[in-house]
Symmetry: C2
Subunit: 191 residues, 2 copies
DNA sequence: CTGCTTAGTGTACGTCTGTTCACTAAATAT
DNA sequence: ATATTTAGTGAACAGACGTACACTAAGCAG
């Protein structure tokens, strides 16, 4: 099929063609491709925040918190593959405006996670900087997981092989990583 | 200047123009842009391996191993900014062949790091899978650091601001992350 | 019913793209 | 000294690209 096409290889003409519309009609909706991109960022970021919300509400048991969080991540990526693929690709490539917008959103995401973490008793007397560090580390591990999942499933919107086996392996590895990091927390003396 | 241009926005005609040569002359050297890309991957990967080699030889004191490794990373990225920018961008974007090649190389890189780690007494009885997990985690933290450095310094080959201040901040944060992870190592029971 | 707004049409333009072809000048090997 | 390989030329092509313009059909407000 080769249906997957990254955003910055996407042309105005292709977009309008896919929409069954003549190229000039594009300007009735967006002034430029940048504007389209920002609209897509908005939409995708909403998906991202929905994921965090679900993780917050879902797991009251701190025992299986890591596993349930990873599972929520995997499910969300599977269900909103195109949003995550768009974010993952655009985060490191092409358009400068979009790249900065996404990176800023992710930093914000990490900050929210940090305030969530602050509620855990074990982390009560960690400095703000250290909490941000920990949250950023968690987020980066999650991002690596997302990229891996997208890689084993065709980076954009091709159906490809869903390969739940490879997905499960990535989930296990990611949970392992997070558990390792969590293991360090009690022994960290926050400055 | 706007001199920075990512590889997949790069056209055959731009390459030949920059080389001061007519478009058709391109085919005397490469069959396609893919082939050019693979040549660039080769060159950039050599830089990557040189970095690992230096880190291996450089630090015999395990006390400051983390700080010296991070410093080597920062220095290498500064000195070979374009190689790292190329790898970082192409790793997640555009051309499928190049993306897979780079990701495979990075996996190989992590594997080599894993065998290095196996020599540490504390890690003697870790399973191979767990060593790979740890090495992969280190590598992903390093990749995140590289991306951050490139971000604060203009992603491609623009001179921009070198901003050694922001670089140092990233170095500190990365070292902190690695120290946190290292702190967990003694308490991990390898399965 | 009338008038304004919105979404879409069709055409056309200039520019950039990859690729081909026959040809030449220089370097290299025999 | 001669033959062959190599690197580069210049022109030409067909296609895709972004963008502009005047125009039309539908939806809705007054």
């Amino acid at each position: 099929m080769e249906a997957g096409i990254s955003f910055d290889r996407l042309s105005l003409r292709r977009v309008t063609h896919a929409a069954g519309v003549v190229p000039a009609a594009f300007y009735r909706h967006f002034q430029s491709m940048d504007e389209l991109g920002l609209a897509l960022v908005d939409e995708s970021v909403r998906t991202l925040r929905a994921m965090l919300r679900q993780a917050r509400e879902g797991g009251p048991s701190p025992e299986h918190l890591i596993d349930s969080s990873v599972q929520i991540l995997v499910d969300h990526v599977r269900q909103h593959r195109r949003h995550f693929a768009f974010l993952a690709e655009t985060r490191s490539s092409g358009n400068t405006v979009l790249r900065h917008t996404i990176r800023t959103e992710i930093r914000l995401f990490a900050s929210e996670l940090a305030t969530d973490l602050a509620r855990f008793p074990i982390l009560r007397d960690w400095s703000t900087a250290d909490l941000q560090m920990l949250a950023g580390l968690f987020v980066d591990v999650m991002i690596a997981a997302i990229e891996s999942i997208l890689e084993v499933a065709g980076t954009t919107l091709s159906p490809d092989a869903p390969s739940p086996e490879a997905e499960a392996e990535i989930a296990r590895l990611t949970a392992k990583r997070l558990r390792l990091i969590a293991l360090a927390v009690p022994h960290w003396r926050s400055s």
